[in-house]
Symmetry: C2
Subunit: 332 residues, 2 copies
């Protein structure tokens, strides 16, 4: 096969993205130059944060270019190499998803052992997703044993890890919010002490019922009314790790919430935004600990796999609508 | 004189307080019981945070009771003592202002040396006000030499200390906002590198012009549009010490701002609310350092003194309207 298929950004979404914002483009399979490799991608990661990069605004990462392939975490096998240390057949993790064949500098690829875990796990539980949960909970929010943790978007890839890691690290109570009854059931099966569907009533009321003694640590994937509810329910000296605000990624209006931010003073709350990239120093410790939990069957992870690069835009729209359980992946 | 005059809370304000929410009440001068002292107050502190205690809501301090005297920081001389360690004529600092004569347990009073500084200074630069600035800037926001600091409400008692302490501790650039041209002039005289009147245009635009390389540390006394502007102007890994949100204390509507809170993620910002009471461990270090700066004439402080307990409600309304330069005090 000498054809490479990739997904381009055809236009910038206004509000919610649609299929028309994307375009499937056929190109040649690339040939590596000196120091480069070509990887046949097998799985690619689909993440809500990509929505921000579709806007033409300055941010911590540059916006996606129009009429160029999108990118994101991916794993696959080397099919051609002009770089020392990589040979065809090697399994590598890298950042050029959204295409069947990726051409990249060998320095931008990391070899992984496909015999240790299903290769998709390197994009989820053992990868950035797991490290995001681990670093946010333990490093950013400084969760301590005996505390009560609330995580929003809890049935998502990061959220479901946060809740389980919290329990494994000694949290007294873990509460999750999600967007369907099925997800709530899944959270309880994963060991959450309480979980609720945010459609069932005001988040604050449901959170207070689920955490009657208040919340010490909040892991925010949602923002908006969830953040407001968490601020309202938090105990003195509570800490929030702000990981994402999916509720407002597609909003064309500024968010109305949180309206109770002044409570941070009297309660001495800390709200701290973070990106996993700042916490690479934890990677080795994280991989050790997570591998142990997986080996001992102490942690479960869900994957929602969409088949085919041509369906990647639908997978992305789905993750924004919360159609995934756990990690949203595309099998390329 | 055997009459004691005190200010009671007559009714709870809805929105902005008015003179009708207060009542001047005449009582007997109290007599101390065992372990108690009676203090003739000379100065009392008037602080914006009191507004919150006038609402009947659960908070970090109980609300003021109706038909009972208000309270707050005060300094005066002991006129009667039934407590070991205190004798008439001693100057003491305590928490029962808003009355001419205060009856209190000796344990709730702290003797100070009136020969070291004007006694009013113990309520401002050498007291809670100064420590609030010091702790918020250095402990909560962890300001480092070479950084750019923005403080709102900069001509107030706390704000003017924040800016000066920042410069003395090596900030590269200090920017303040205030509510009049005269205050802006005063800030420049105090050594602020830039200052602006928030009435002159959008806070964000003025802040960007005053701090073209961005803000590393924000000391928030105002909230609302000031906090939103600071979040917008902050550099990666910026820290905000949230001390007060005077812009919304009298609002009957929830605040609309900050609408850009999602920026905390990409910029990895930390927003941290604090109360000075949590930072008592810094008091000795603070007093040492501040006394040295005062002795060397490196720091200036302003006081706005209103005469007479009967005018204390007006002083309080004035501080909410920003009529003070520096510390608002009542000479009792």
């Amino acid at each position: 096969m000498s054809t490479n298929r990739e997904i381009h950004l055809a236009s910038r979404p206004q509000g919610w993205p649609t299929a028309e914002n994307f375009r499937l483009v056929e190109t040649e399979v690339p040939t590596p130059g000196a120091g480069q490799i070509v990887v046949r991608n097998r799985f690619m990661s689909v993440d809500p944060y990509m929505r921000g990069r579709m806007n033409d605004v300055k941010s911590y990462v540059p916006p996606f270019a129009l009429d160029a392939p999108l990118d994101g975490g991916a794993i696959g096998e080397v099919v051609a190499s002009e770089a020392e240390g990589f040979k065809p057949g090697d399994t590598v993790l890298h950042g050029l998803g959204w295409r069947e064949y990726a051409l990249l500098d060998a320095r931008a690829a990391r070899a992984v052992d496909p015999s240790l875990a299903p290769v998709s796990a390197y994009l989820s539980v053992l990868g950035m997703t797991g490290l995001t949960a681990y670093a946010g909970l333990l490093d950013v929010a400084e969760m301590k044993p005996g505390e009560t943790v609330f995580v929003s978007g809890a049935a998502g890839a990061v959220g479901s890890m946060v809740g389980q890691i919290a329990k494994l690290r000694g949290a007294a109570r873990v509460v999750g919010s999600a967007g369907s009854a099925a997800k709530v059931e899944r959270l309880k099966a994963l060991g959450f002490d309480a979980a609720f569907d945010y459609h069932d009533g005001p988040v604050y009321e449901q959170l207070k019922a689920a955490a009657p003694d208040g919340v010490d640590v909040y892991f925010d994937n949602v923002g908006s009314d969830h953040l407001e509810a968490a601020i309202g329910a938090m105990n003195l000296h509570g800490r929030a790790a702000i990981c994402g605000m999916i509720a407002q990624y597609n909003s064309t209006e500024p968010p109305a919430a949180p309206r109770n931010l002044a409570l941070v003073i009297g309660k001495r709350l800390t709200l701290r935004g973070f990106l996993v990239g700042d916490h690479g120093h934890l990677r080795e410790q994280f991989v050790q600990e997570m591998a142990g939990w997986l080996r001992d069957d102490k942690i479960s992870y869900d994957e929602t796999v969409v088949e085919g690069i041509e369906n990647a835009p639908q997978a992305f729209l789905g993750v924004l609508r919360g159609e995934n359980l756990g990690k949203m992946l595309v099998r390329v």
